[in-house]
Amino acid sequence: MELIWEGIKKAFILIFTGDREIFGILLLTIRVSGIAVIISMILGIPVGLVIGLNNFRGKKFIISIINTGMGLPPVAAGLFISLFLWRSGPLGFLSIMYTPTAMTIAQILIASPIISGVTLAAVQQINPKLKYQAMSLGADRWQILWILIKEAKLPTLAAIMAGFGGIISEVGAVMMVGGNIRGQTRVLTTATVQMVRMGNFDIAIALVIILLFLTFTVNLALTFIQQRENITWAQRFWR
């Protein structure tokens, strides 16, 4: 118990004194996962919308692949990316193995199916006749897509939260393709594993507190955006 208490105390000291290394790890985590979630949104949301809003042959098969992707173990994602980026791999000439770029790519592979899958499930809940309504109002293909994205805004934010949650907490893929190199590819999760291995529980606790705070802050912001609309409407309704 004393170990935990001491650990927490030291963790707060490290956080509030602005430890340079921890601050660097935090920034890298935000950069890697932030870029990964933004690219995953760009890839995942349109894919989810297009599949969810259209009927075509093989739709169920594609949905099954996306659903499988949603449960993709991070180590599997890490292995695939490693195979491609390894010096002798098909993309080895890029020389980005053990760099933040490789970590970002691995996280995109994890987050994109999650965002696609949740978006897809969400847009399938939209009244399909709204697409007809948008068409009959004279909307072209892109306008229809944009109108329906706005319609699925709230569930799409949930998809982003799920995608972010999936990558900020994973350790397997970033460890494999990043290598957990101090000052270069060490992020909050890999650093925590490293510190526990070394018995530096105070630093490990500090890192976990920061990780939890970061996750909480991002989700809080997204939840506020998501719920703001409903609250405003509810207030108007009961006014």
Partner: protein, 371 residues
């Protein structure tokens, strides 16, 4: 008759459910309201979707302002931008009432300032002034449909397609909105195709009517013609003709035919001859359609020469039923006829089940068509 806005020619659309739409010819005219009436599932809404190019027909043509709009090289978006549709569901988007109304304009990248007068007119006419900032979900069904109508009408479409817009609204809101809608359509001279399964609504709103059944047009023409002269039993029943009698034309003179009615109650020793205005030939197997309001009831035998009605039928009241304002009287004259009378008439004539009564019908009020 104004110029033709939308013409449908030999249009066929098959569905896997084995339903087939097969329209030989249908035409909507400029500044006129064409009502498509028919039972649920008869294909009315399919016509709307095909006319708005939301679905593709298997064969046939649709002409919009004289130009063919079926084909792969057609710019569907630009055609749709000349047509506005209001569906049975309001289908409002997750934004304010104001934004919903202006959605079509923003899709066309047009400014509200160019449509200000139209906007103000519609908002006032459709009583939406106080609802503009509201979330559509907080509105009643009638209010939501008003928003959908404003959204469609502000676009100033060449053709307005209304697919049972009043079907899901409560009675009071429905009557109110019906009146407002009629005002707007007449004020703006809007060319409209109006789908409904309610014949009274069609009667109130339409200029022309097409009666549709199982994917086919049973009758198409001017409202009064369809309501007065149904061409077959289905149309007659659908437009509310309660008395349909089968018989044979015995003779015709000066366009007045003498028709012997097939009696279904031989116990009544009553003459089963009815006179109807028609040019049918003797021997024709005919159906006689008589509207309930065209049957007048008398307590005693009246001198034939005192009345213009050629048909005076003696019968026995077999049923009196409440239908709201009027009472429905079923009379057995050897064949069943139906009349509607007011409560006052029930009291004045002292009508009751089992009472013998005289029913007068003018020959000109009876519509005769071949069976």
């Amino acid at each position: 008759m104004g110029s033709k806005i939308l013409e449908i020619v030999k249009l066929v659309k098959n569905y896997e459910s084995k339903f087939k739409l097969d329209i030989d010819y249908l035409c909507a005219h400029e500044n006129k309201i064409l009502a498509l009436i028919g039972p649920n599932g008869s294909g009315k809404s399919t016509i709307i979707r095909l006319a708005n190019l939301l679905e593709k027909p298997d064969s046939g043509n649709i002409f919009f302002d004289g130009v063919q709009i079926i084909g792969s090289d057609i710019d569907k978006v630009s055609i749709r931008r000349k047509i506005s549709v209001v569906f049975q569901e309001p289908l409002l988007f997750r934004t304010s009432v104001y934004n919903n109304i202006l959605l079509g304009l923003s899709i066309r990248k047009q400014k509200l300032s160019d449509f200000r007068d139209s906007f103000d007119f519609l908002i006032k006419k459709l009583k939406l002034q106080k609802l503009l900032r509201r979330n559509p979900k907080s509105l009643s069904g009638g209010e939501q449909q008003r928003v959908a109508l404003a959204r469609a009408l502000i676009l100033n479409p060449r053709l307005l397609l209304l697919d049972e817009p009043l079907a899901n609204i409560d009675q009071i809101s429905r009557e109110e909105l019906q009146a407002d809608l009629l005002d707007i359509l007449k004020d703006t001279g809007r060319s409209t195709i109006y789908v409904t399964h309610d014949r009274d609504e069609a009667m109130i709103l339409a200029d022309d009517i097409a009666v549709i059944n199982e994917g086919r047009i049973e009758q198409y023409g001017n409202k009064n013609e369809v309501f007065r002269k149904p061409v077959n039993e289905f149309v007659a029943k659908f437009i509310g003709i309660e008395t349909l009698l089968e018989g044979t034309v015995i003779e015709c003179e000066n366009n007045v035919c003498k028709v012997k009615i097939n009696k279904n109650n031989d116990n009544l020793n009553i003459d089963s001859i009815i006179f109807a205005v028609s040019d049918a030939l003797p021997g024709t197997q005919a159906m006689l359609a008589i509207r309930p309001e065209d049957i007048t009831l008398y307590n005693n035998e009246v001198a034939q020469e005192l009345l213009s009605a050629m048909n005076l039928l003696t019968g026995i009241i077999t049923d009196i039923r409440d239908t709201g304002i009027l009472k429905k009287i079923e009379i057995d004259c050897g064949f069943k006829i139906i009349s509607f009378v007011t409560r006052n008439s029930i009291e004045r004539l002292e009508l009751f089940t089992g009472k013998k009564i005289i029913a007068g019908i003018k020959a000109s009020s009876i519509h005769l068509f071949k069976k």
